[in-house]
């Protein structure tokens, strides 16, 4: 855990984590300030959040210290393209469900893009597999478990 560049003096990821922890503590404190119900005896609903906020703050300070003394472990180089494909697929999934496109189309998109992220090139084949998988899952849920997954125009033809 020694910094590979001691001349720079501080570790940016550790600083970012420290900042995020302080922000989280701030959010918890802000939320406490807006609470209206106070308990009559014992401790009320604000006690635990105070403890959590203190803990987050202390951990933030500890990360600050770490940032100047060694820093976090250095991760290996990441394949940014692969990560982008998967995140793109996940965003597409939420978008299709949110806009009422239905489970089958959404599943086809996310299946194909995750497979692409893992290095498959046959996008059309994967779209077809994803759609088939989505269809089977949708029908199993609808018929066997009587649970309706989000339906779009395609699904409404079936149920």
């Amino acid at each position: 855990m020694t910094p590979d560049n001691p001349a720079r003096g501080f570790d940016i990821p550790a600083l970012v984590v420290a900042g995020l922890l302080f922000a989280a503590a701030g959010i918890v404190l802000y939320d406490i300030s807006r609470q209206t119900i106070v308990s009559t005896y014992g401790v009320g609903p604000t006690a635990m959040p105070y403890v959590v906020a203190c803990g987050l703050g202390l951990l933030g300070l500890a990360h600050l210290a770490v940032a100047f003394r060694g820093g976090l472990p250095k991760p290996e180089a990441a394949d940014g393209g692969a990560v982008a494909w998967i995140i793109g697929g996940l965003v597409a999934f939420v978008a299709v469900i949110g806009l009422g496109g239905g489970f089958v189309i959404a599943t086809a998109l996310v299946f194909a893009s995750v497979a692409r992220g893992f290095g498959r090139r046959a996008l059309a084949v994967d779209l077809a597999i994803g759609a088939g998988l989505g269809l089977v899952i949708f029908l199993v849920f609808a018929k066997l478990l009587t649970l309706l997954l989000p339906a779009g125009p395609l699904e409404r033809l079936l149920v």
Binding site: I37, V83, L90, V91, A106, T107, F118, L133, L149
Partner: protein, 499 residues
Amino acid sequence: MDTLLALANGFSVALEPTKLLFCLVGVFLGTAVGVLPGIGPALTVALLLPVTFKMDPAGSLIMFAGIYYGGMYGGSTTAILLNAPGESASLATALEGSKMAKAGRGGPALATAAIGSFVAGLIATIGLAFLAPWLVEIAIQFGPWDYFALMILAFVTVSATFGDSPLRGLTSLFLGIMLGLVGIDKLTGQARMSFGVPELLNGIEVTTLAVGLFAVGEALFVASKRLREPEEIIPIKGSLWMTKQDWKRSWAPWLRGTAFGFPIGALPAGGAEVPTFLSYSTEKKLCKFPEEFGKGAIEGVAGPEAANNASAAGTLVPLLTLGLPTSATAAIMLAGFQQYGLNPGPLLFAEKPDLVWGLIASLFIANVMLVILNLPLIGLWVRLLGVPQPWLYAGIIVFATMGTLAVNPSPVELGFLFGFGYLGYLMRRYDYPVAPMVVGLILGPMAEAQLRRALQISLGDPMILLENPGSATLLGISFIALVAPFVMKGMNRFKAAED
């Protein structure tokens, strides 16, 4: 005698055909996911929770337990044949196991792992059956302060004591506890951390967090490392069976592994890594052929694998008797109990003895099923390793989204799932453990409730925690467990400075 009677009653429940079927499905699924890299028992149970929501509670819980045991068995296959331990509990197995497989002794390695798991699982489950009623007797006398102190101890050991870095473990834990604050406070009805978003009033679903961290996070992490060389499956050569010599060298490590695994698993210390590595180093010291260690010594597979399984059974002791989860899988199983309105603990033993003892009896059956399933079907499990990685992970993501949509079909919940997934990816990248976060989310609100109950009884005097011998002792141990890693680190630095 009461225990034997209760256990016999449990067997009468567990031997019903439908329960046997649930058990079989559980161990089968568990082995499959244990073998597949990238999915462990915690994730599988999390994915199945929404599907089993409408099923019979006893059957589903038996299935979950089967998945837990099966996952522990299956993990060894991946560790030995792929040198890619699926979960941290199989790390020690992979050390010698993969060397044995490379030397053409993959068969005996798998056999000693399976039979060792069986022996350990059997002994540990007997331990569970006899320890549980006794612990329940003690737990009945526990006050809220004792429970609170116990949970603090679990927090500390899960996050700080045994991880690589107490700082990163505690950070993960506190993020989980913070997420546990979200929603309506059960005692007063005060909405906390919800910021006017109606979806947040019910709190964060444990399954959403777990599936996000484990499934989506893991997929992103593996994809990001794809540039490295892929692992190769080592084909099994030679006989699958152990020679007389193998048996002779295996039985003692099995028993010693069990002796490490069960007590450490049963303590609220959590994790199977510690006993597996303890067992590994012990076998290395005691082995009559120390020169074989590092080249494929069978003791190095037999011991850790037994420790691994025994600790899985040990983890069920605090889960069933105290409602205290000490590993990610146990945390998810607790969520499984809660989804049926059941709260594990002394009361459950009194109110639903059929269910609890049926579950314990089914563990014996699961063990027998696993050893029968595993040895002859090893070829099938190996073929499972050949599933192309892109399809495997694409499938995992599809099942993850399906599970989330089944619980709560809203884009907001999906957003959480993927947000947690990205968080899980970043945490893996910078070596933050994810399990403490799941434990924090489920145990945080429980600890808060116990603390507030304790302080209501004491009329707000926090000294009650230190005046009771039970809670004072537990808090003392927690403090030591929290400080110990820092002190030891300081001592190491001191030594390094001296050199």
